[in-house]
């Protein structure tokens, strides 16, 4: 039986009060309840405060380049499709630098669970706007306020037919834990965008700001209805829904489409040099 201690890694280098602490707690609680041992899965992360996450947990870790966690995660899944892979990243890392990879990971429906620490700002680089910063947000780099429209990751994911689309709030650790468990249990690419306050650099989207707006999606909501999901994804402002927004059970995961790994993971398939003689003859 696992305990929280089994999943505890290094002491976090986050600011006191950081929303990341809530996500960390939710994750560890989820892992204890799901009883997946640390050596059995890998966390891939990019760069940012979010991406330090795997060091604070016990697990196989690939803390890679800014924006590039998803390709790495995809490579791991193709090499070993029996090895669970989760990605922890931030709004800048995933929706900015890594935007292209998000689109194609959803297209593939690679069986990776993506948890985005969305604090609507760049934390580690000290306060620039991110793709999810709201229009008009003023920063040192955007002295006139952000001109671009806020990116809506939920709507983007629903439009691309993403297999599992959810939004959470780090302030509600119990709810977030359940979302994490649901994503881990789902078969398909899962995007969980977790709103979290950045106490150091985001003076707009604070704990209180979120508390006043988030509401849990009710039990009579059908997450498999795509049109309704799109409408739900467009809700933002005075009311921000959290919970499972869209769930698509009809998509086959990428790994199961590949004949080469039908019977065994690639990493367990040996190299058969006997065949080389025959291949060489093809050149004559």
């Amino acid at each position: 039986m696992s305990t929280l201690e089994d999943y505890s890694g290094q002491q976090p280098a986050w600011c006191p009060g950081c929303g990341n602490f809530g996500i960390l707690k939710s994750f560890k609680d989820a892992m204890v309840e799901m009883d997946i041992g640390p050596e059995q899965f890998s966390i891939v992360s990019g760069i940012g405060q979010s991406s330090k996450f795997p060091h604070y947990v016990k697990c196989n870790t690939f803390n890679g380049l800014h924006g590039r966690a998803l390709p790495v995660a995809t490579g791991i899944r193709l090499a070993n499709n029996e090895h669970p892979v989760m990605v922890f990243t931030g709004d800048g890392d995933c929706y900015g630098e890594g935007g292209n990879h998000l689109i194609h990971a959803i297209r593939r429906n690679i069986n990776v669970k993506l948890f985005v620490h969305d604090n609507q700002i760049y934390g580690l680089t000290k306060g620039q706007a991110s793709p999810t910063s709201m229009e008009g947000t003023k920063t040192k780099n955007q002295p006139f306020g952000v001109f671009s429209e806020q990116l809506n990751p939920m709507a983007l994911a629903v439009a691309l037919d993403c297999s599992f689309v959810a939004r959470g709030f780090s302030g509600d650790t119990e709810h977030t834990k359940e979302l994490i468990k649901a994503a881990l249990s789902h078969k398909g690419f899962s995007l969980v965008d977790i709103l979290q306050p950045c106490v150091s650099f985001n003076k707009t989207n604070t704990y209180q700001w979120y508390q006043e707006r988030v509401y849990k999606i009710g039990p009579d909501y059908d997450p498999e209805d795509k049109v309704q999901a799109f409408q739900k994804a467009l809700e933002w402002g005075e009311r921000i829904p959290i919970g499972i927004i869209f769930k698509n059970n009809s998509r086959i995961i990428y790994e199961e489409r590949i004949p080469v790994i039908k019977d065994a993971p690639l990493v367990n398939q040996s190299f058969d040099s006997i065949k080389l003689e025959g291949t060489l003859k093809e050149f004559y």
């Binding site: 290094q10 640390p38 050596e39 059995q40 899965f41 890998s42 891939v44 760069i47 330090k52 795997p54 060091h55 016990k58 697990c59 196989n60 870790t61 690939f62 803390n63 890679g64 380049l65 590039r68 998803l70 390709p71 790495v72 995660a73 995809t74 490579g75 791991i76 193709l78 090499a79 070993n80 029996e82 090895h83 292209n100 990879h101 689109i103 194609h104 590949i258 004949p259 080469v260 790994i261 690639l266 990493v267 398939q269 190299f271 058969d272 040099s273 065949k275 080389l276 003689e277 291949t279 060489l280 050149f283 004559y284």
Partner: protein
């Protein structure tokens, strides 16, 4: 016997079919063959050519002069007519070119009509192949074997029609080409056993497959795409996953993820794609994850000449990727070298946990050479990684533990109770992020100063060919191997000349281990031959050994050296001595 056949035409006219079939015929007949291709960045139209050199002695370069010009479009004639030798012949179809040439050296052969007579005008290519054989006085028997294999899936009828079409073309040429070479045909006996015909692209692909590659991710880019195509063709047979990435940044990162998870991984691209991969290359260096990268050069900068050739990315390959970390760079000069160096590349990437770059270019990628055989027993395959039991039984596992050699045993995640922790930040022995000055210094020492001396020991010396105590040495790297060798042969009767060719470029072959510098210093003249503008190899030689070339031949028009043109340049230098 040394014939050059050039097939010119628009993209889409079947140049590659004619050229490829002819080359295959000659190889199967036991001749030595060298082919090169010249094509534009388009799918239809324009002007392209396929050039085949066939001989009863080894050939490894293209000539300026041609013996047979197969003109499939009108442009071929003004563009290539001047290249014909004194006895050179043009064969064309006046109904396609809409022009008739009244010249005994122009053979009007109705490819299309003959093809139609035998079933379908698509067989015009087959007729053309038969025609060339007829002009050379070679019997089409072996061609029939090739037709049977090529069209096996299309059925007996199609095979029969093609065989007849080829014979018709052959007979027409034999009968109507009065000035052709058929009189010398009697001398063209059976030159030897069937030879293998292989291009640089195929050699790298086959080399990777033969080295146990399991994962290949790439973004299509000329002239590297062929490698992905080749390996994709072997996916099912060998249990390989080929993944087309959404961009080159994804390609390199996918390869690193797959390698981290425990399989031999590779990617391939050209200069522009490699530019996008450089952060990933730096990641490979920092995380010590084995990866092989095929860099198939084409002229830059930027989009450059997409379908042409250059040796312009040497400095880039050597120094790309921010920060300091070890790498290996190979630049094979022939498909055979490409095959074995790809294998050596995989072995060293896994052994030292470094990125290995295999450089080629459009010229080598597309050129086809004949060989008697490749010796598969020379291949290396050792699994250096820690898996299952071997990893499980360790009491503890630190991914970056300090060792004497700088190489830490490479465990794979999910295969034991131990965790594997990788970080692009500077890290401690456990793989966690550190900023500590002492650990940073020790990790740099590990990655660079501990590993490099061992890596250096793996590097082979440059190849020397020709005079043992040359007055003149021509020096080059990569795809200029064949052309330089033939130039040496051309001049060896009257000059004391040798060639020095580097196919293992970085770490640079150490002057302490090998004595090649002696030959360079003792020569009256050392000439550096490069397919680039700024003499990148010459600069590398000076940086690594202090030796400075006083003479160089540089070509940067997007085309490869031809025998006559390089010989001309070298001759100028020899005369000046």
């Amino acid at each position: 016997m040394d014939y050059t056949i050039k097939i010119g035409g628009e993209a889409g006219q079947g140049i590659q079919t004619v050229g490829g079939t002819l080359a295959g015929f000659f190889a199967k007949s036991g001749y030595h063959v060298f082919t090169n291709q010249d094509y534009e960045s388009r799918i239809r139209g324009g002007h392209n050519f396929y050039q085949i050199r066939v001989s009863d002695s080894p050939v490894m370069s293209s000539r300026d002069k041609i013996d047979i010009l197969v003109a499939m479009d009108r442009d071929s004639i003004p563009l290539h007519e001047k290249e014909l030798t004194e006895i050179g012949q043009v064969v064309y179809d006046s109904s396609t070119l809409k022009q008739k040439y009244d010249n005994p050296r122009f053979l009007d052969l109705p490819f299309v009509n003959i093809a139609l007579k035998h079933g379908d005008k698509i067989m015009a290519s087959t007729v053309a192949v038969g025609a060339v054989l007829g002009m050379l006085g070679m019997k089409p028997d072996i061609l029939n074997e090739i037709i049977k294999v090529t069209f096996k899936k299309k059925g007996e009828e199609i095979i029969k029609n093609n065989i007849n079409a080829a014979k018709a073309g052959h007979d027409f040429a034999l009968e109507n080409c009065k000035e052709c070479f058929s009189t010398t045909a009697a001398k063209n006996g059976q030159p030897g056993n069937p030879k293998m015909l292989i291009s640089g692209t195929e050699a790298i692909g086959f080399g990777a497959v033969a080295s146990g590659v399991k994962f290949y991710s790439a973004y299509p880019m000329t002239p590297a795409t062929g490698i992905m195509n080749y390996i994709a063709g072997k996916e099912e047979e060998y249990g390989i996953i080929v993944e087309q990435a959404e961009d080159e940044i994804s390609a390199i990162n996918m390869s690193l993820g797959a390698s981290f998870a425990g399989v031999r991984s590779m990617t391939g691209t050209s200069g522009g794609g490699f530019a996008l991969m450089t952060e990933g290359l730096s990641l490979a260096g920092m995380t010590e994850i084995p990866v092989v990268i095929a860099l198939a050069q084409r002229p830059g900068p930027a989009t450059g000449l997409p379908t042409r050739t250059e040796q312009g990315d040497l400095m880039f390959a050597l120094y790309a990727g921010h920060g300091e970390f070890p790498r290996i760079v190979f630049a094979p000069g022939t498909p055979e070298q490409a095959f074995y160096l790809t294998n050596k590349g995989f072995d060293l990437a896994e052994k030292y946990q470094i990125p290995v770059i295999i450089m080629t270019d459009q010229y080598l990628a597309d050129a086809q050479w004949t060989f008697d055989e490749f010796d598969l027993s020379r291949l290396e395959y050792t699994d250096y990684r820690l898996r299952s039991d071997r990893l499980e039984k360790l009491t503890e596992y630190k991914r970056y533990a300090f060792t004497e050699t700088g190489v830490t045993p490479l465990g794979i995640p999910g295969d034991s109770r131990h965790l594997v922790v990788i970080d692009s930040d500077e890290h401690d022995e456990d793989g966690h992020i550190v900023e500590d000055a002492e650990i940073r210094t020790r990790m740099m020492d590990k990655r660079i100063f501990k590993k490099m001396p061992h890596i250096r020991e793996e590097i082979a010396p440059p190849a020397l060919y020709g005079s043992k105590r040359p007055d003149i040495v021509i020096v080059g790297w990569g795809s200029t191997y064949g052309i330089m060798k033939e130039v040496v042969d051309l001049f060896s009767k009257n000059s004391n000349i040798a060639m020095m060719h580097f196919s293992e470029i970085y770490p640079f072959p150490s002057p302490e281990n090998f004595y090649y510098l002696k030959d360079l210093h003792n020569a009256k003249l050392a000439i550096c031959v490069e397919n680039n503008a700024t003499g990148q190899f010459a600069r590398l030689m000076r940086a690594e050994t202090g030796f400075e070339f006083k003479a160089s031949v540089n070509k940067y028009d997007g085309r490869p050296f031809t025998l006559e043109s390089l010989a001309g340049e070298i001759n100028e230098y020899i005369r000046g001595l």
